[in-house]
Every structure is written in structure tokens, then in C-alpha cells.
């Protein structure tokens, strides 16, 4: 082989190598482009890819198949409205760390609003229970129930106050005959009753821990 041929062979070898590398790069870039492509407008009425609107700060809103996701300038999801990854219609608000702080969604098919503290603990819940009765539940930093408004299984409305052990300490309610206020001690014994009694009378009494009436009127 002549020296000219040798030179050409070297060039061919180099070019072939370069061509293979370039093709791999092209394929890689195409894959990345397809994966990250964000069209600015749908094709017809249905967009095969999410629609993203972004501003100069980096904040963006993305309409995807499951709903609307809004990210802040740091890329953290702050707002979601749509159907969540468990198939529940959901409206979620997250803080600047990305932690969920408020969610209005169908939990076990029941309409629910939950508010969470900075540690992710559920502190307030507004919902319909499985009997489709409304409830407001206040919980402490350990997620223990401390206060509630609800309609009880009996159908009677009730306001309840609870200790850190989640045991009922006081409740105010009414049935069809009369309202009543009951106060209990830490053992669960009734100590104060005001309002309607089971015999239909209305009055008030104070008892000791052994359920002995210490005072009653009238």
C-alpha cells in the first residue's frame, strides 16, 4: 500500500469512529428531547405531551394528563389540582420545602380538607365521615384528637373536648327532647351533668368519682 493509501485509511478510520460517536450523540439528544419536550400548544384538542408555561424566574405551570402542577422558581411543586397518584381528585398546597401543608381531596371517597403543621402532622380536618355526616376535628402535635364538632351515630350534633389521651372530657349535645352538657374526669366518670336527664327531667347535678350525686337541683 502506498503512503497516500495509508493516509486515506487513517482518515477513513478516524471518520468512521467520529461518525459512530456523532450518531450516538444525535440519538442521545433525540431521546432527551423527547423525554423533556414541552409543547407550547396542543396539536388540535389533545396534546400528547404536557403543556408547560414558564416565566423568566423559572416558575412554571404544567398541565398534564392528571391535572395542573405549579412549581416555584426552585422547581418545587407548590400546587397541584387534579387526580393524584392514587386516583383521588385532589387539591394540594405545599410549602417552600415541598412539604404538604393543606389538601382538599376525596379520602376513601369522602370529601376531606386536611391541614398539616411544619412537621407533617395532621392538625385540622374538615370532612364528611362514612355516614356522610360533617365533622371538624382538631388534633394536637401528636395527632391526638382534642376537639371535635360532629353529628354522632345517633344523629345528635355534638361538640366534644378531649384530653391528650383522646378520651372525651366534655361534650355538649342535644337529642329530640333536650340539650345536655356532660363533664368527665380523667377516668371517664361523669362529674357534672347539666340539661336533660334520661328520665326526661331537666336540671343539673355534680357527682364524685364513684358516681355518687353530691348535689342536684332541682
Amino acid at each position: 500500500m502506498s503512503s497516500s493509501s495509508e493516509t486515506l485509511f487513517a482518515r477513513v478510520t478516524r471518520l468512521e469512529r467520529s461518525s459512530r460517536r456523532d450518531r450516538a450523540i444525535v440519538l442521545g439528544v433525540i431521546v432527551v428531547a423527547v423525554l423533556t419536550a414541552q409543547t407550547s400548544a396542543p396539536q388540535g384538542n389533545v396534546s400528547p405531551t404536557p403543556i408547560v408555561v414558564r416565566d423568566a424566574s423559572g416558575m412554571s405551570a404544567m398541565l398534564g394528563a392528571s391535572g395542573l402542577t405549579v412549581r416555584d422558581a426552585s422547581g418545587k411543586v407548590r400546587l397541584f389540582a387534579g387526580v393524584d397518584d392514587q386516583g383521588r381528585p385532589s387539591l394540594d398546597e405545599r410549602d417552600s420545602t415541598g412539604a404538604l401543608r393543606q389538601s382538599m381531596y376525596l379520602f376513601d371517597q369522602q370529601p376531606t380538607l386536611r391541614q398539616f403543621d411544619a412537621l407533617g402532622k395532621r392538625r385540622l380536618e374538615l370532612k364528611l365521615n362514612t355516614r356522610d355526616s360533617g365533622e371538624v376535628r382538631l388534633t394536637d402535635a401528636n395527632e391526638n384528637l382534642r376537639g371535635a364538632f360532629f353529628v354522632a351515630a345517633s344523629g345528635n350534633p355534638q361538640v366534644g373536648l378531649y384530653g391528650t389521651d383522646e378520651k372525651l372530657r366534655a361534650f355538649f349535645s342535644t337529642d329530640e327532647q333536650s340539650p345536655y352538657l356532660v363533664m368527665r374526669d380523667a377516668t371517664g366518670a361523669n362529674r357534672v351533668n347539666i340539661g336533660g336527664f334520661a328520665d326526661g327531667s331537666i336540671g343539673m347535678d355534680i357527682r364524685n368519682a364513684s358516681n355518687t350525686v353530691l348535689w342536684k337541683a332541682p
Binding site: V29, A61, L138, Y162, A170, V192
Partner: protein, 211 residues
């Protein structure tokens, strides 16, 4: 193949490869530029309009207007994520939002004043409050207070506490006050852990006590 023919074939291969390499590079650069342009650059809001209504996806979220009056927004607002519902004249009537990272649901009267709040305080304690017509004074509150007790409280129009029912782990109590703030009626557990009730005059003298 003779050396001359060898050279000719190789030269053709080289030219073909060089041409192909140029095309590949241009293609790679083009696709890269497209990917960067569509993935990173600011993009124009997308608006759908019809029947006097417009829905617009902007970088901060979704805005819906009727006859150009904002009626619904699900956006990152000045205080964080917020979902707002406005009445026909654009006055905010309901908002689910975060303020200083804390969750809040507020409902507003037709005058735009806050009427109901279901929210967490900055320390995470839950509050449910109903407000007077001016929107600043809580008239009824159901909350866990700073002493970590659940409390149901009613206030007068000046915001002064008039009655409350609360409990700690030992037992509950209910207090009724007069406008000066003096306790006039007490029912429930006392600090000595006994249960009872009393009625007092404005000078805190017990007029009646049982048992």
C-alpha cells in the same frame, strides 16, 4: 484492486463519511437547540377563550375569568400557593392558601371581609373562627390554645372573651364572664381537682357554690 483504484475507493469513502459527519453534527446541534429552547426558555401563557370566559395557564398557575373579571385562580401567589374563588364583581369570597407556610381556608362576606377561618397558627395549632361583620374580631373560636388545651370560646363584638369551655387532662370547665372580664359563673373542675359550680359577683365574691 490496484493501489490507484484503492486510493479512489478510499477517497470516495472519505468524502462520503466527511459529508455524513457534517450532516450528523448539524442535526445534533439542531436537536440540542430545540430541546433547550422548548425545555428551558420562558413560554407564553396559553389561553382558551369562549362564551365570554377565558382560562389561562400562566407560569404562576391557572386563571379563569368571566367577562374579563377574575373568578377563579389556582396559583402561586404572593404568600404561597393559593386557590381563590371570586364572586361576579371580582370580590374574593373563598380562599384556600398558605400564609407564612401555614394552611388556611377563609371565607369572606360580600363586602370582602373575613367571615370564617379554618386554619393553623404559625406554630401549627388548629383554629376555627367565625368573625364579626368587620372581619377582624373573632366572635366564636374552636381551637387548641397556647396551653395546648382544646377550647370553645365566644367573644363579644369587641373581641373580649365572654364564655369558654375547655379541658386539660384532669378535667373540663366552663367559664362565663361579664363585659369587664370578671368571671361570674364557673362550672367543672377546680384547681384542687374537685368538681362543682359557683356564681360570683363583679368583685369575684362567690354568691353561690355547690356542692
Amino acid at each position: 484492486m490496484t493501489p490507484v483504484e484503492d486510493d479512489g475507493v478510499l477517497a470516495a469513502r472519505v468524502e462520503r463519511l466527511e459529508r455524513r459527519a457534517r450532516i450528523d453534527r448539524a442535526l445534533a446541534l439542531g436537536v440540542l437547540a430545540l430541546a433547550l429552547a422548548t425545555a428551558q426558555a420562558p413560554t407564553e401563557p396559553l389561553t382558551v377563550a369562549g362564551a365570554g370566559m377565558t382560562a389561562s395557564i400562566q407560569a404562576d398557575g391557572l386563571h379563569v375569568a368571566v367577562e374579563s373579571i377574575p373568578r377563579f385562580a389556582a396559583v402561586i401567589g404572593s404568600t404561597g400557593p393559593t386557590v381563590d374563588e371570586m364572586q361576579t364583581n371580582g370580590v374574593l369570597r373563598q380562599s384556600l392558601f398558605l400564609v407564612q407556610e401555614s394552611a388556611s381556608l377563609r371565607q369572606f362576606g360580600a363586602n370582602g371581609k373575613r367571615a370564617l377561618g379554618v386554619e393553623l397558627a404559625l406554630d401549627g395549632t388548629p383554629l376555627l373562627r367565625l368573625y364579626g361583620p368587620e372581619g377582624t374580631t373573632s366572635r366564636l373560636g374552636f381551637e387548641i390554645d397556647t396551653s395546648k388545651r382544646p377550647v370553645l370560646r365566644v367573644n363579644n363584638n369587641a373581641g373580649t372573651l365572654m364564655g369558654m369551655m375547655a379541658t386539660d387532662d384532669d378535667g373540663p370547665y366552663m367559664i362565663m364572664k361579664d363585659a369587664s372580664g370578671a368571671t361570674r359563673t364557673y362550672v367543672g373542675q377546680y384547681s384542687d381537682l374537685s368538681f362543682g359550680m359557683d356564681v360570683r359577683n363583679a368583685s369575684d365574691v362567690r354568691l353561690f357554690k355547690r356542692p
